[in-house]
């Protein structure tokens, strides 16, 4: 019987959006479908490459936000 698992479902699996039974079926399919396994590996590699890019805000920005929250917390309590 031909597999009904598509590249789109593999993509959902890679991004953790499949339920346990779907994940299990995809994992099983990947062990016997070399075309799909190749697609999975290529997309995982690309995703991992993208994961290397990421930026964090300066700590000053976080401090400004927290100070704003604390100061307005006080003012609201007086209402």
């Amino acid at each position: 019987m031909n597999s009904t698992i598509t590249e789109t479902e593999v993509l959902r699996y890679i991004y953790g959006e499949t339920n346990p039974s779907e994940s299990k079926a995809i994992r099983e399919e990947l062990t016997k479908n070399l075309v799909l396994k190749s697609y999975h590996d290529r997309m995982m590699e690309t995703k991992n490459e993208l994961d290397r890019f990421g930026m964090e805000p300066d700590e000053t920005s976080v401090s400004i936000i927290l100070e704003y929250s604390a100061s307005h917390h006080d003012s609201l309590e007086h209402h």
């Binding site: 997309m43 930026m55 964090e56 805000p57 936000i65 704003y68 929250s69």
Partner: protein
């Protein structure tokens, strides 16, 4: 209970009831994805810092004003605010060419790509710069889905809702985005050799 076991919803509820530390935990947990998403829209670190701050100030004002709807998931809600803040920035600085889309008002796709400033050149390493540039070369619709899924970590369902397309369309755009990026990364590596 470990911090990782506390849900965003629980942290948010505790913050609403006056626990300031819970806001810090929420920011710490999500700052990377939110900031990266903003940066990929505005392409300027300093502007991204401003928008990041304005986003959370808006979040605080909304919560403190009793206008936060509990049915909203925290991250998609914050990302919507960040997106709107980014669009407002472009409107104010007239760096956006507004073209009416299917929904009457499109989002990321109307944003022009700014040149990287000198500070960014210093801050970002070569890999980051390369990846960022490659992302910017993607077609607008693919870039939007990629940023929202990969960096903002919204689900495909949430992306579909935000962008006004079906889940299958969002998934399709993501597939094309990853395929295109992979090709470009491979080509880039060949060029670097």
């Amino acid at each position: 209970m470990k911090l990782t076991q506390i849900s965003d919803k629980e942290l948010l509820q505790a913050y609403v009831h006056g626990n300031e530390a819970c806001l810090e935990m929420l920011i710490k947990r999500h700052k990377r994805k939110i900031f990266t998403s903003i940066y990929l829209i505005v392409h300027d670190r300093y502007i991204a810092e401003d928008i990041f701050q304005e986003t959370f100030i808006k979040v605080i004002q909304t919560i403190r004003g009793g206008k936060y709807r509990e049915e909203d998931k925290f991250i998609p809600w914050v990302m919507r605010i960040a997106r709107n803040m980014s669009i407002d920035y472009f409107r104010k600085t007239r760096r956006v060419v507004m073209v009416t889309g299917e929904d009457g008002e499109d989002i990321f796709s109307r944003l022009e790509i700014n040149e990287t400033n000198r500070e960014d050149e210093i801050i970002l390493n070569q890999t980051q710069k390369t990846v960022r540039r490659l992302i910017q070369t993607l077609p607008e619709e693919q870039r939007t889905v990629l940023i929202l899924r990969q960096y903002a970590e919204l689900s495909f369902k949430e992306i579909a809702q935000i962008t006004g397309v079906s889940i299958n369309t969002a998934l399709g755009r993501m597939r094309y985005a990853l395929n295109n990026l992979r090709k470009m990364i491979l080509e880039k590596e060949l060029n670097l050799q």
